[in-house]
Symmetry: C2
Subunit: 345 residues, 2 copies
């Protein structure tokens, strides 16, 4: 937090919007008109527009006790861009609406927007509109992201085919372990405020939770290799839940191999400390923002060009259901438990 | 409220989304892909896309003590469509994100969505996406509306010219008087729960607050008459505030005639009961969702074809400032007080 504190009321609603948006330079030719009018104007020049939106609420989706505002701003953008990439599209614009309680200062909002603009610059998107209002309680963030895609190049969840390979980018389960660490340290801090947080060596898993990345590189890899996935979804709720979405919407079943699920060494070590199964974190943890997708077997060779992609199973007839083959060779049905379920335990 | 109460937890997040969206039939060819994937896909077929977003928070923007959920759903859509029309564009899609506390039942949400779908059908827009999440306190509504406009037909706030006529649709000030009535009756109800609300004869002003309309007809009139306004904005904060937006952004001044400001007879009578000036309500009340726009004097004759439009003043050199000429012939500077200011009094 900066030392200075400027009350938001000192600027007023329009002054605040001017303050937060005055340095915007539009990066995309498609951003015809940005912040400052009743609406933004976008020209996709013959491409199709892809639109997604997310609502993030303090106390439900984030805890300001251990979430730096700059990271929160960054993440608020990234989770929406991840949905755009999951359509095989390229994000170009966002709108950002905020509900702000009066405990926020202008300096605090500046920190948040520093994260927003960092994400915008990194992923080449323009902030073109939004709404800033007061909130009686809690910080509320609503982001809409708009991307573009050539007609018929977008990838749905419902178009996987029997025999397709099931693939995932990056590694899974880290964000959930990061959350466990931060929740533990918060509890200790509340009980014994003098104790310093012990997060030594956990920067990987904590970073995966607080500052996730959207997989722009994977979409660029598909374009470069001329691979069109047969279906795709981003992993926000956990691998199990997303596999079931693709499977149900495509009317297929699936076999998933535990030994193929990518889990980082840092995640395994951290899971060991909490005495939980890293595979369970990957299956049900969520918030990894990796891409889960299916490809035709004929694309397998081209897929090998990326070290960032793991083949973890294959799609089957719907009658065969959804199965995890464990490292010991047992078959377990895949069920959607997800983040909320685990949080309750 | 219906008699039955189904807990949202009985459906779960995905079940709830399925329940609320299962009857959607996409109306626009531009809605290529709707609810049910990571993002929606929109093809504007060579037109430009127009995007706007609004965040509505219980206790800040609406009071469920006197706001029927169906009306709230309708209004949540309409206030966004109003912004699209204010760009001289035609709305085609919306996304709707909700934060819902557990005091809401599935039946209550059904009422809200009945209003949403009524507005969608009336204005020909498709609900193509959104996010449904829990809220610790209060009902949170975030809507993004997307419209389309032929390139170079969109109308900004910043392009009014000196000598242009300043015009407004419909009539002003009613929504604010409607709010005064409802706040008064709420106060009486809290103090004396047995007293029945006395809203007799005030259905016009209350209706203007609770169920505003977006001025689709005015945009259609412009198209039919081949009128392109030189600037336009919708009236959400009050006439004064919106005139200043157009004037400042166009680097002009303005003369406004009090006697030309359209105020409904119902509004005058209701203002009389509260002993407030109906002109003040028009200038600073807000929430009327009428269109304020400027046209070239050469379009004046064609403008006469509509009884829904009033010429209320004209744009001047910026050095002349912003003036209201009262019915008694006095000149008063126009200042932005707006809704929030009036609420405090």
């Amino acid at each position: 937090m900066s030392e200075q504190r400027t009350e938001i009321s000192a600027l007023g609603e329009f002054g605040l919007i001017e303050h937060l948006t005055k340095n915007i330079e539009l990066q995309n030719a498609s951003s015809v008109l940005g912040v400052g009018d009743d609406a933004a104007v976008i020209d996709t020049f013959g491409k199709q527009a892809v639109v997604t939106t997310d609502l993030l609420i303090e106390g439900v989706h984030f805890d300001l006790a251990y979430t730096p505002l700059k990271h929160l701003g960054y993440k608020s953008v990234v989770v929406n861009l991840s949905d755009i990439y999951a359509m095989n599209a390229v994000p170009a614009q966002i709108t950002m609406s905020l509900g702000i309680s009066n405990r926020f200062s202008v300096e605090a909002l500046d920190e948040f927007y520093e994260g927003v603009y960092t994400a915008c610059n990194k992923f080449g998107v323009d902030l073109v509109g939004g709404d800033t209002t007061s909130s009686q309680k809690g910080f509320i963030i609503s982001v809409t992201a708009i991307g573009e895609v050539a007609p018929d190049k977008y990838v749905k969840r419902s178009t996987a085919q029997k025999g397709d390979l099931l693939c995932v980018s990056g590694d899974l389960g880290a964000a959930y372990i990061g959350l466990l660490f931060l929740e533990r340290e918060k509890k200790i801090f509340i009980e014994s405020p003098g104790v310093q947080p012990d997060l030594e060596g956990e920067s990987y898993v904590i970073g995966r939770l607080l500052k996730p990345e959207a997989r722009k590189d994977i979409i660029e890899f598909f374009a470069a290799q001329n691979i069109l996935p047969t279906s795709m979804i981003d992993i926000s709720d956990g691998l199990s839940s997303e596999i079931l979405h693709i499977g149900h919407q495509s009317n297929l079943g699936c076999v998933l191999y535990e030994e193929k699920i990518p889990v980082a060494e840092e995640t395994r070590k951290a899971a060991f400390k909490f005495e939980i199964d890293p595979t369970a974190c990957a299956l049900s943890g969520g918030e990894d923002y990796e891409l889960l997708f299916t490809i035709s077997q004929s694309d397998y060779d081209r897929l090998q060009m990326s070290e960032q992609i793991s083949v973890i199973g294959y799609m089957t007839e719907p009658e065969q259901g959804f199965y995890l083959v464990t490292k010991s060779g047992n078959k377990h049905p895949i069920t959607a438990q997800g983040w909320n379920h685990m949080k309750k335990n």
